[in-house]
Symmetry: C3
């Protein structure tokens, strides 16, 4: 099946040490991850790595949207990263993140996650139609 692409509006990169993402903290987790993300990450061989990958992914997507960060109040739970049936991570925007994306003409966000033993590295791309 062929895929839908688009013009690039923004790019975002982020890298995070796995140990720097406090996925052992239930408040941090419930504040920043959706129920589906939490269920997925907890079922993986290394939940800490999976949470860190998604955390880096959310930051990269946020940067690719080109909006000013509101710091600790940034709605990172509104940026949901779920694997499709081919195992490819896909971005789903909700709430305020979705609204910001629409205001900027973003129709789709692509992402790729990579990890070494200690570090996650992610690139996100915001596309218009």
């Amino acid at each position: 099946s062929s895929s839908v692409g688009g013009n690039v509006i923004g790019v975002g990169v982020d890298q995070e040490l796995i140990t720097s993402v406090p996925s052992y903290n239930p408040t941090f987790v419930s504040r920043n991850f959706t129920d589906t993300e939490i269920t997925y990450c907890r079922a993986q061989p290394s939940p800490a790595s999976s949470f860190a990958a998604r955390w880096a992914g959310k930051e990269a997507v946020f940067k690719s949207l080109g909006v000013q960060s509101s710091g600790a109040a940034a709605p990172l739970k509104d940026i949901e990263i779920l694997n499709n049936t081919d195992g490819v991570p896909c971005v789903h925007l909700h709430g305020e993140a979705k609204q910001k994306a629409e205001e900027r003409g973003v129709a789709k966000v692509l992402i790729s996650l990579s990890h070494s033993e200690s570090q996650m590295s992610v690139t996100g791309l915001s596309l218009s139609r």
Copy 2:
């Protein structure tokens, strides 16, 4: 001369420690690299770094194509990375990788390689026309 670009269909990132790519293993090398790649890498000041950069590049391109990994059976030899006359790394797809790319409407794959002392970091982009 002007260049041909395209809409982005997929992005792929990969990072690899140079020490984690077994380029000292002839079976690994002949299984995953083309003769032209092998000749090129062996002629570089640090063959291990050159093999590792290409290995990370193949993984990044594979991810950018958005196809399900077939694990150890993935046809990474079909993803060939050669420098053009300007020294810019270019992606050439063959066999199964080429077929998958065509099925998804990918007309061109861009790539950039970077390395620190110990690590290779790569981003690939799959473009449609």
Copy 3:
């Protein structure tokens, strides 16, 4: 406000250890950074990190333009990276870099910067109209 995007012509990635960028060297700094960049970096909490981020950014942009490196003579001062009012880093090309970009049909260059404690990581994208 909606944004202007474009077709991707080139991608460039770069990673630099903060300690490997000699921002303590006035000759290096004045040779490679514009006055506006220097004023900005010196006003940041960690000037060394800010210089390193821009240095990596210049290298990534240079790679994304797909031109042959002229090594130490590369006009990296011609690649200026300044934050816009939203805090998003934006690329401004001057002189030889601007000319090379125009020859290749590059209308805009997007960039994203990321840093860990010790390392900067950047991706740049050259876009046509």
